[in-house]
Structures are given as C-alpha cells and as structure tokens.
C-alpha cells in the first residue's frame, strides 16, 4: 500500500495543483516533491537489509482477463533507484518553483505524471505493468518539451517520441509474447508476473527475437550510440529542470530494465548477444566522449557525457558478472545525482553569460563566483570518476567485472575514463577560467539557484564517503540478476571472492 501511495503522490499533487489554480499549484507541487522524497526515504530506512529480498510488496490482480497484476515491490535492485527518482523529482520541482512557468497548472501536472511513471517503472513487478509505465513516461515529456521547450521544440519532441516509441512498441509486443508463449508452452493460465515468468523459460530462438525487441527499447532510451539520434535536438529544446529529471532518471529505467528483465527472463539470448551489447557499450563510451569534447554547447557536454556514462553502465551489466552489475547499479545512482547538479549548473552559467549556453561565451568567472566554482568542480570531478568519488568505485567495479569476463573490452573502455577527464576538465576550464572577454556577469550562486543544486552536491559527497550501504543492499540481487545469463555464457559471475570493502 505504501508503494501505491509513493507511486501516485507526484501525480496526485500535480493534479491537485492543476485543480486548485495558478496560485496554489507551486506549493502543491513542492509539497508533492518533498512528500515523495520523504516517503521514499522512509521506505528506504524501513527496508530490512538483514532480511533482504522483496519488501512492502503489493500484488493485486489488476486486469483479470489478461492476467496483469498491480504488483509493486522494493528490493535491493530498485531501492536506491526509487530514492534517486524521488530525490531528483524533489530537486527539479524546487528548481521549477523558484522560476516562473507559463501555464504552470499543466506544467506541474505533466511533471508529476512523469515522476509517477518513472517510479512505476522502477517498482513494477509485472512485465506489462513495467511496459505500461515505460510507455507512459514518454507522454508527459512529449508535452514538456513541445510546450515549454525552446527552439525547434515541436520537431525535437516529435523526433524523440517516435524514436523512443519505436523501441517501446516493439517491446510491448515482445512482452505480451513472453507471457503468451510461456503460458502456452507450459500449459498455464496467462500471467505476467516477472517472478513467475522467470520460472518458465522460453526456447532459445524465441528468446532471441524477444530480447532484441527489449534491447531496442532500452538502447534508444539510454541512449546508446547508433540509436542516439534524438538526443541532441531533445536536449537542446528541453527546459533545464525538465532535462535534469529526464537525463537524471529516465535513462536509468532503461539500464535497470536490462538488469531486471532482459537478463533474468532471456538468459540464453543475453548470453548470445553479450558481444553485441558490449560492442555497443564500448562504442557509446568512445563516441559519446568524442562528441562531448568536440561540442561547445555546455548542455550537450552533459548530454554526450551521459551517452558515455551509460555505455559504462551497459558494459557493466553485460559483463555478466556480479561486480559489473553492482558497479552498474552504483553508477546509475551516481550519474543521476551528478547529472542533476551539472544540468542545474549549466543553467546558472548560462544566466551569467547573457543566456548563452555556448562554452565560448563563458569564462573567467571562477574568481568572482567561488562557491559556484567549487560546486561545479565537485560535480565535474565526480563525473570524471576522480578517485575517492563514488563514481570511481562504480567505474572500477564495472571495469573489474568486464576485465574478468571479456578483457579486451575492459582495456578499450579504460580509454573512456581518460576521455571523461578530458571533456569534463575542458568544459570546466572554458566555462570557469581564463580571461573574461565576454562580459560575463561576475555573480556567485544566489540562494534560489543553490537550493536545488546543493542537496545534489551533498549527496555526491555522501556517496563518496560511504557507498557501502548502497553496495551492501545491491550485492545479492545484482548477483542474482546476472547468474542465469552468466551460466548460459559460461562465465563465473562471482570471480575471486572479493567484497567491495577489499576493493576500496
């Protein structure tokens, strides 16, 4: 029941605000954001780590004739991601509330709907329910970009929706096929509960096409390199707070989907396509990094760096090792938090540079804005995976996992670590240092600007100091997620008995 409340809280408060009118819409949304965060944190604190497994489970038959369950749960796999979503949503709502929106009632309604859909996708334990929320996520963002975006917003949002839905709709067909075929194979009544489907494996040939449909949906959403065509326009058009929510959590749903669905349900196919997905991951890392240090657009640096970071997450998952999967999970959280900070910082920088987000029109502001400089530096260091940051641990675990499973991929991916340093530091130096030749306004972070950024920075630091609680909770489920596929690929998922503790 708590989870149903958590899921609908953003939507309900968004709706309430829309009904109450222009004056009360912001307070309602902010309360909704903070309330969601409160509930999520409360659940996380009440999650019995010693017990592990699924907790706070809700399971009701929702659509009886189709065997779809309203099944939500929290386990080690999604706990951190649910909290991350609530955190990002709260930050974004606060960031939106300190500025003016056109037509705020619809704006906050869409924002709340988006957050609810993301939470639903993370919590869903029914395959169709997951697909439903995965598709639903897109609808509010279609409006958020199209109505409140800038530049070529209509073209950008149409492109984004058609790209993502191409994958999602195929996934819908594949998901239904999974349930229907499993039911007819094993002579059972149709049922889409993930835990049940896991016990009813499909034939290898069937697994392969179904896996490819799922992979298409997830790779577009992440996005991974050959399927990233929508990213540039969509990122350019998105209002910044919306971008923070989008980049911070939506891409994680896709990565989470691989871990939650694709690997456990289609282990044989995951094993046979391991090389393909590792290759896509590596290409994403290299190409994303290359794009990130050739663009002059601060916003796109963040966007392209996301492609690279998600490449890391992808190869971590498809190393099919416990370390790789754990690193991927940690990295999802890290990247979510860092992205929120970076996106908001880009907004602040642009406001100093007469609204331009071009790195060329920024610079020379570090001395005049020391707090901003420090905040940006922390976020940048975290993003480039500086040792002692949680990102470092995440990337280390990923690379270790990949090294143990497919060594050559790890070696190439290491280049990505170096490239991250190049593009992040380049962006930092050009935005903050050098002579101020562009008449950049020398003003430090104001309270309003800092409000949504500082919690993210605090979280980055907290994760760096103590990633242990997160790793401890995710160890069991992450290992369980990769074991079937690892078996099929003849990989020992738990290499030499190391714990995250020893690695530090």
């Amino acid at each position: 029941m708590e989870l149903t409340l958590l899921l609908f809280l953003p939507l309900a408060t968004g709706l309430l605000g829309a009904v109450l009118g222009n004056r009360l819409v912001k307070p309602a949304a902010v309360l909704g954001g903070l309330g969601t965060l409160g509930v999520a944190v409360g659940l996380a604190l009440n999650y019995d780590t010693a017990l592990g497994g699924s907790q706070f489970t809700v399971d009701k038959l929702w659509v009886k004739p189709l065997g779809i369950h309203w099944a939500l749960t929290i386990d080690g796999l999604n706990l951190a991601l649910v909290v991350l979503t609530a955190f990002v949503y709260a930050s974004v709502v606060v960031a939106c509330a300190v500025r003016e929106q056109e037509n705020p009632r619809l704006f906050y309604f869409h924002l709340g709907l988006g957050a609810s859909a993301v939470l639903g996708a993370f919590l869903a334990q029914d395959l169709i329910l997951f697909v439903l929320f995965f598709d639903l996520m897109l609808v509010p963002f279609y409006f958020l970009v199209g109505q409140w975006g800038t530049g070529e917003r209509v073209a950008a949002t149409t492109k984004m929706v058609i790209y993502t839905l191409a994958g999602s709709l195929l996934m819908l067909a594949a998901a239904v096929a999974t349930g229907a075929l499993a039911a007819s194979h094993h002579g059972r009544h149709i049922d889409f509960l993930i835990s049940n489907l896991q016990r009813l494996p499909l034939g290898k040939g069937t697994q392969q096409w179904i896996f490819l449909c799922f992979a298409a949906a997830f790779l577009v959403k992440m996005p991974a390199v050959p399927l990233h065509g929508w990213l540039k326009d969509a990122y350019k058009s998105m209002p910044l707070p919306v971008l923070a929510l989008f980049s911070g959590v939506l891409s994680k749903v896709a990565a989470y989907g691989f871990l939650k669905l694709a690997l456990p349900l289609f282990p044989d196919a995951a094993a046979s396509f391991q090389d393909l997905l590792l290759a896509i991951g590596v290409i994403s890392i290299l190409y994303g990094s290359a794009l990130a240090f050739t663009t002059n657009d601060a916003r796109l640096v963040v966007g392209y760096s996301s492609i690279a970071q998600l490449g890391f997450i992808l190869i971590g998952i498809f190393s099919l090792t416990s370390d790789g999967a754990q690193g991927a999970l940690l990295q999802m959280v890290n990247h979510g938090v860092v992205t929120v900070a970076l996106v908001m910082i880009v907004g602040v920088l642009a406001s100093r540079a007469k609204g331009s987000e071009d790195l060329g029109s920024m610079g020379g502001i570090a001395m005049g804005a020391p707090v901003l400089a420090v905040v940006f530096l922390i976020a940048a260091f975290a993003n480039l995976a500086m040792p002692a940051s949680a990102n470092f641990i995440g990337e280390f675990l990923i690379l270790k996992g990949v090294f143990d499973s497919v060594t050559v991929v790890a070696v190439i991916a290491c280049l990505g670590v170096a490239m991250a340093a190049v593009y992040m530091l380049r962006a930092y130096i050009r935005a903050m240092h050098g002579p101020d030749t562009n008449g950049v306004e020398q003003r430090d972070l104001s309270f309003r600007e800092a409000l949504p950024i500082l919690p993210a920075i605090a979280l980055i630091l907290a994760l760096a100091v103590s990633p242990q609680p997160l790793l401890k909770r995710s160890e069991g489920p992450a290992t369980a997620a990769v074991i079937p596929a690892a078996k099929a690929a003849n990989i020992d998922p738990i290499q030499t008995a190391t714990t995250a503790q020893a690695k530090r």
Binding site: L61, W62, V63, K64, P65, L66, L106, I128, L132, F133, D135, L136, L138, V139, Y142, F143, G146, Q147, R153, V154, T157, T158, V161, I162, L165, A166, L169, L170, L172, A173, V176, A177, G179, A180, L181, A183, S184, I190
Partner: protein
C-alpha cells in the same frame, strides 16, 4: 385454406427493441410535421432520444437471455446486446451532436432523425442476423438511409458528392455481398446460418470452390461497409463530405455493425473453415493497417485523417478476428467499443470546432486550441493518445488484448504488423496534439457562434470513458469475453 397457414411464433418481448425503434422512427417522422419550427427543433430530437433510450433499456434486459426469434431470422444474444447498445448510443450521440446544427432544417428535422433511426434498426437487424436473407435486408436498411443522410448538407457540393459516391460504392458492396450469399446458399442449400454450419460440418466441403468463392465475396462485400482495405477508397471522400454528426455515426455504428455480422458469419457457420478464411482476414487486416496509416499521414483535413485512421483501426480489429477464439473475439469487441468511444470524442471536438471557425475542420483550425479551449483540446488529446495506443487509455489496453490474442493464437507476425502500424500512426496523431498545444493560433479566434455545451460535454464524457477503460479495464474486458464465449458456444 387460410387457416392451415400457421403464422410463425413471435417472441414479442425479445423483439421489443426492434418494434420500439420502428415505432419511434415513425413517430419522429410525423413529429417533424409540427408547425412551429421552435417546437420542432426540440420535439423531434427529444423524441428520437426517448426512442433510443427505450431501445437501449430493452436491449439491456436481454443480456444473458439469448433467444432466436422470428423463425430463426434473428438471434438476440450478448453480441447483439453489446453491439446493439453501441449503435444505439452512437445514434443518440449523433442526435446530440446535430442538436443546434442548421443542416436538418434544410432537409427537415423529422426526416433527418427518422432516417437516423431507420438506419439504426438496420444495424440492429444486421448484428442479430441468423439468416442470409436477414443479413441482406439489414444491410440495405442500414445503408439506404445513410446514402441520404450523407447528402443532407444541401448547400455544400461536397455533401452531395459524398452521398452519390457512397450510394454507388455502397451498392457495389451490397451487390458483391449478395452474390457471395447466393453462392453460399448454392453450396450449402440453406439460408439459415446454423443450417449452413451443419452442412459445412457434415460434408467438410471446404474445398468446394462455390463455397470458397461465396465466402470471399461475402468478406469483400462486408469489407466495403467496414471500409477495410482494399475496399476503402470511398471512405475519405464520404467521411469528409458528409455532415460531421453523420460521419460520426458512420465511423462508429456502421463499423460495429459490419464487423459484428462478419463475426457472426465467420465465427458461426464458417468456423470449420477457419484455416481458409483466417489468412484472408489477416491479409485484409495487414493491408488496412498499412494503407490506412500511410494514407492518414499528411492529411490536412481532420475528417479525412480520421477516415484514413479508421481504415487502420479496422485493420487492428480484424487482427483480433483472425484468432477465432473467445480471447480474440473478446479483444475485438472490447476494442470495438473503445474505438467507438475515442472516435466519438474526436468527432465531437471536430463538430464543435467546425462551428467556431471556418477552417474548424482543417488542421490549421486547431492551432492554439489548447490555449483557447483547454477542455476541448484535452478531450481531443485523450482521443488521439488512445487511438495511437498509448497508456493510460482504453486504446492501449485494447491493443494489448489484441496482441495477446494474436500471440496466443500463433499470429505473432500480425501483432508485429499492428505494432509497426501504431508507430506510423504516431506521425499523424501527434501532429494534431502538437498543433493544438504547441503552435499559436494565427489570429486570436473568437467563437462565431455560442459554444455548444452539450457537444463539449459529449467530448469530455467520451474522453473520460476512454481513460476509465484504460485504468479499470477488468470489468469491460470480462463482459467482452462473455460475448466471445456466447458467440463461440452458440454455434
């Protein structure tokens, strides 16, 4: 020896929906003769609505009381009740949508509404048909009033053209169907659907070329009415030319009736021949999905776009029919109802927008509607999202049910076609949404006429039902599967 002729026994209570509708149609026609125009403008639609409500109540009372009446000419079962209610509701909404239009004044209010009711009787007969003769009689009674209704906007050239076009193409369709029915009769020696079923099951005459040809022609004839590709060419012109309330009625009720009778024939007596007709239906479905979706791309007239989209939607529906199981029929019936509701929402918005501005039916007339009239635009948005099959709408669940039926019945490729078709359809459905919310209207348009509250109410009601069907689909889906069970078990 007149006394020796025994009149067939007639179960008047089961026949009640038909009698009341007929009586109502005649009364409405007479009420159209009332002298005062003011009185007429409220009395006639009022009587029509009363008639339709009464019919709906009588239909509802027949739920789960299947009965074959008038020497086995009509079968009043759950399918008849469900689709009959749909047609009656569509007629009622058509009445509401044309309440304040000036169209009927030019042709006479009584005639307009009476024709609408007669067409509805035809649909009810068609859906309940248990005999080849009844099928044809029902189809003609459905069609002929519609030919006239299409042409009721006397002052618009397009309207007349639409009526003529529909008449010609519809007659070809009827003739094709009639020929097919004759061949089926020739092959099996009976016009009664159950007896045809027995004859086919006995002889196993599935290789009989006469029967196969009859089947093909019957499918083709009904495809004309349902506007499935490749028999759809008339659809865009007629939908565009006809008065919008009539188009609404055609797009919802006619489709339901045509698919209902197709279901009756194929899943009834011809079920043993499923391996012969399923590939044909699958081919028609695929073609409809492709042709409809690509045809709708780039249409600037909303009515034309919705016409093309309805061709594609018929394709989705036929994809459910291919799986001749209660699962497939349940999915088909559910989606048919959802389709009718979301289409109604879309057309209601078009009707209202048409009255507000000159280019209200063009896409350009929708620019900035979200700002001017957010509720109306909201209803349209829900309808478009549902037609495209996005959650949380009934369209999503309906497509899910059809994909589920296809996947379970071994028609996975058809499910993939459906999904790819939906993807293409985003191209035009999203365009409407984008126009309403994301572009500014060129001039700040002030409504020319007073806003018609009843039309906005219809649009919002239909949109709300569309959402409800997506959020709480269990009950309607179960009822739809009940219908599927009765169809399968009654043969």
């Amino acid at each position: 020896m007149i006394a020796a002729i025994k009149a067939p026994f007639i179960d008047w209570s089961a026949l009640a929906p038909y009698t009341s509708l007929t009586v109502g149609a005649v009364v409405v026609l007479i009420a159209g003769l009332v002298g005062s125009a003011r009185l007429r403008s409220w009395l006639v639609p009022g009587l029509a609505l009363v008639t339709l409500t009464g019919t709906a109540v009588e239909l509802l009372s027949r739920w789960n009381h299947p009965k074959v009446i008038i020497s086995e000419a009509l079968r009043v079962d759950n399918l008849t009740v469900t689709l009959g209610l749909l047609c009656v509701a569509a007629a009622a909404f058509a009445v509401v949508l044309s309440l304040r239009s000036d169209t009927e004044d030019s042709v006479g209010r009584g005639e307009y509404h009476s024709l609408l009711l007669f067409s509805t009787i035809g649909m009810l007969i068609l859906i309940a048909a248990n005999d080849l003769v009844t099928i044809f009689a029902g189809l003609e009674l459905l069609s002929i009033p519609l030919y006239v209704l299409c042409a009721t906007e006397l002052r618009r050239e397009h309207s007349l053209e639409a009526g003529l076009k529909y008449l010609i193409v519809g007659s070809v369709g009827s003739a094709t169907l009639l020929y097919g029915l004759a061949l089926i009769y020739g092959a099996t020696g009976s016009t009664s659907l159950p007896k045809i079923g027995v004859a086919i099951a006995d002889t196993g005459a599935l290789t009989d070329p006469l029967l196969l040809a009859g089947m093909a022609l019957a499918i083709a004839g009904l495809s004309f009415k349902a506007s499935a590709a490749p028999f759809h060419q008339w659809t865009p012109d007629v939908y565009e030319g006809a008065p919008t309330p009539v188009t609404t009625f055609m797009a919802t009720a006619t489709k339901a009736a045509a698919l209902g009778v197709l279901l009756r024939i194929l899943v009834g007596p011809l079920l043993p021949a499923v391996d012969d007709w399923a590939p044909v239906i699958a081919a028609v479905a695929t073609l409809s999905i492709i042709v409809g979706n690509f045809g709708a791309l780039g249409q600037d007239s909303l009515k034309r776009m919705l016409a093309w989209s309805s061709v594609a939607q018929v394709g989705y529906l036929l994809a459910g029919l291919v799986v001749a199981t209660s699962l497939g029929i349940g999915a088909l019936v559910f989606y048919l109802v959802v389709y009718a509701v979301m289409t109604l929402a879309a057309f209601a918005v078009v009707v209202e927008n048409e009255r507000a501005s000159d280019d209200g039916e063009r896409l350009s007339g929708f620019a900035g509607l979200g700002r001017r009239r957010p509720w109306l635009a909201g209803a349209m948005t829900v309808s478009m999202l549902s037609l495209a099959g996005l959650p949380p709408t009934g369209g999503f669940i309906g497509k899910l049910a059809i994909i589920n039926a296809d996947a379970s019945g071994g028609w996975m490729w058809l499910a993939i076609v459906l999904v790819l078709g939906s993807l293409v359809s985003l191209g035009y459905y999203l365009r409407v949404i984008a126009t309403m919310w994301m572009t500014e209207g060129s001039v700040e348009k002030t409504p020319v006429v007073k806003q018609a509250r009843e039309i906005v109410a219809v649009a919002l009601l239909a949109a709300a039902v569309t959402i409800a069907a997506g959020v709480l689909p269990s009950w309607p889906l179960e009822r739809a599967q009940d219908v599927g069970h009765t169809v399968i078990s009654s043969r």
